[in-house]
């Protein structure tokens, strides 16, 4: 575990010393503050639109940070040749993969804390309430969902040569899952065989990330808390997918020549 934490520490340092996070965070703040200063149609519930917009920006920013940070980890180690002195030490390839995953995941957790703290402050400035447990549920499942995205991107970084192609492919897949994933079973029903079986197979195989994404509604519309057992079940479901992607990444990396 010591080696995994050491690798993770370097990834976290990289994130806070690079400008990516600060740019996206400041952009989110600026857009939200500009929108907060406008009162369209004198709508008393305008705060809902503002919360919706802020959460959408948080989701986009977190996905961009998670995918781009993860996609460059192994390729940058190869390109800069830092992989050689690293693996020449008593560090196994599995530990390196797990360290990179943990670093990216924890770094994204810190990013989410900053974003949700800003969101909470923005909402409280208008509504004068702090539904902390609702925020916690949404942020927690968002973070666990990012674990799946990070593990998938890490696997992609070992399969695809360029970080840019990996980032694009992962972003498209994740956006597709979030936007149309839940409708695939309906699409399957309208198709003839073998299309129906293929689409149904995809529907039941890919990770469903809709629950964390749908948690936005919980805090936008001030809905009551979800039962904790369902939060735990969804977290376990997502972690199982993250673990599967990580195992696949380790198997691919073990077979790769490092030189």
């Amino acid at each position: 575990m010591n080696n995994i934490f050491a690798v993770a520490g370097v990834v976290i340092k990289e994130l806070y010393r690079r400008k990516d996070f600060y740019v996206l965070f400041i952009l989110t703040i600026v857009i939200c503050l500009v929108m907060a200063s406008v009162n369209i149609f004198n709508d008393s519930q305008i705060i809902r639109y503002l919360k919706e917009l802020c959460l959408l920006l948080i989701w986009i920013s977190s996905l961009v940070i998670a995918i781009t940070t993860t996609a460059r980890q192994i390729p940058a180690e190869r390109e800069q040749r830092t992989l050689l002195p690293l693996l020449a030490k008593p560090l196994s390839r599995t530990q390196l993969i797990f360290g990179k995953f943990l670093g990216c995941w924890l770094a994204c957790g810190l990013v989410l804390v900053c974003f949700y703290a800003f969101f909470g402050a923005l909402a409280a400035s208008r509504e004068h309430t702090w539904p902390l447990l609702n925020y916690f549920q949404a942020a927690f499942l968002h973070w666990v969902m990012l674990g799946v995205v990070i593990a998938m991107t890490l696997l992609g970084s070992l399969v695809f040569a360029a970080p840019s192609s990996n980032s694009t492919i992962c972003l498209v897949i994740v956006l597709a899952i979030l936007c149309v994933g839940r409708y695939l079973d309906l699409v399957a029903l309208s198709l003839a065989e073998p299309g129906r079986s293929i689409i149904s197979g995809i529907y039941y195989t890919f990770p469903h990330l809709e629950v964390p994404f749908g948690m936005r509604n919980l805090i936008v519309h001030d809905w009551p808390l979800i039962e904790w057992k369902f939060v735990a079940l969804d977290a376990l479901y997502l972690l199982a997918y993250a673990a599967a992607f990580l195992v696949a990444a380790c198997l691919v990396f073990r077979r790769k020549a490092v030189n």
Binding site: G9, Q80, T82, L84, P85, A88, P90
Partner: protein, 250 residues
């Protein structure tokens, strides 16, 4: 003598990228032994198999045949690398870290206790003369300074065996001299140094024994004086051994 690095009938083949392309044989049954406390030069023309040998010894690639061990442990075990230091050719270390942070990171991988790690960091930074720049980000370092950071990371665990892959490549004469001095100092401390180089003058100065390989085969191994023999220099001996034929000018 006590061999701490050993390869027996080491063979490495790389599969051809094209369909039906024959595999490329990088090493053909290499037998090598490096004894404790000696500075061993590993020579050969480009493409001879020097870096492939080092890559096998460090577990980066799997041999097709034969075996390799460090301190009697199969190189495929990560623990075989606990007592070695490795400096690769032309590496750009993490730009967003300082030298001190980089060394702290590597010392954690060796599981050095914190107090001991701090002592080692101080010692190696002084040795490579980077003490004054220890808190600067590596991205601000010159090429020579980066190479010395590389040497520092290779020494962080106080290794018994140091493997250097063309350590003076791309350095100016002053940088080369400093690296040579460091190797000499390590030799005086009783460390084993295994290094590949194209700088034959440098090899002649610091090495106890050398091995010369060409086309993946060991062509000669022995004390520098024995290999030079009646020839004028190690360079002349090297050219003779690898079979270099000067082209006659018309």
């Amino acid at each position: 003598m006590n061999a701490i690095l050993r390869t027996e009938k080491l063979r490495v083949e790389f599969k051809g990228r094209e369909f039906r392309q024959l595999p490329k044989v990088a090493l053909r049954g290499l037998d090598l032994e490096v004894n404790a406390g000696e500075v061993f030069g590993f020579l050969g023309p480009n493409g001879a198999g020097k870096t492939t040998t080092i890559n096998v010894l460090l577990g980066f690639i799997q041999p097709t045949g034969g075996s390799a061990s460090l301190f009697g442990i199969d190189v495929r075990q990560p623990i075989a690398r606990q007592r070695i230091g490795y400096l690769p050719e032309l590496t750009y270390y993490y730009k967003f870290l300082t030298a001190e942070e980089l060394l702290r990171f590597y010392s954690r991988i060796f599981s050095l206790p914190r107090a001991e790690a701090e002592k080692r960091i101080d010692a190696v930074l002084k040795l490579v003369e980077l003490d004054s720049a220890r808190k600067r980000l590596i991205k601000t370092y010159s090429k020579g300074m980066q190479q010395r950071v590389g040497l520092a990371q290779a020494l962080i665990n106080n290794p018994d065996l140091l493997m250097l892959d063309e350590p003076t490549s791309g350095l100016d004469p002053l940088g080369r001299m400093k690296v040579r001095e460091i190797i000499q100092r390590l030799k005086n401390e009783g460390k084993t140094v295994f290094f590949s180089s194209h700088e034959l003058g440098e090899v002649e100065t610091v090495c106890d024994r050398v091995a010369i390989i060409a086309e993946g085969e060991l062509k000669a191994v022995g004390r520098v004086g024995d290999i030079v023999g009646q020839r004028a220099s190690l360079e002349k001996a090297f050219l003779d051994i690898v079979g270099y034929q000067p082209q006659s000018t018309p």
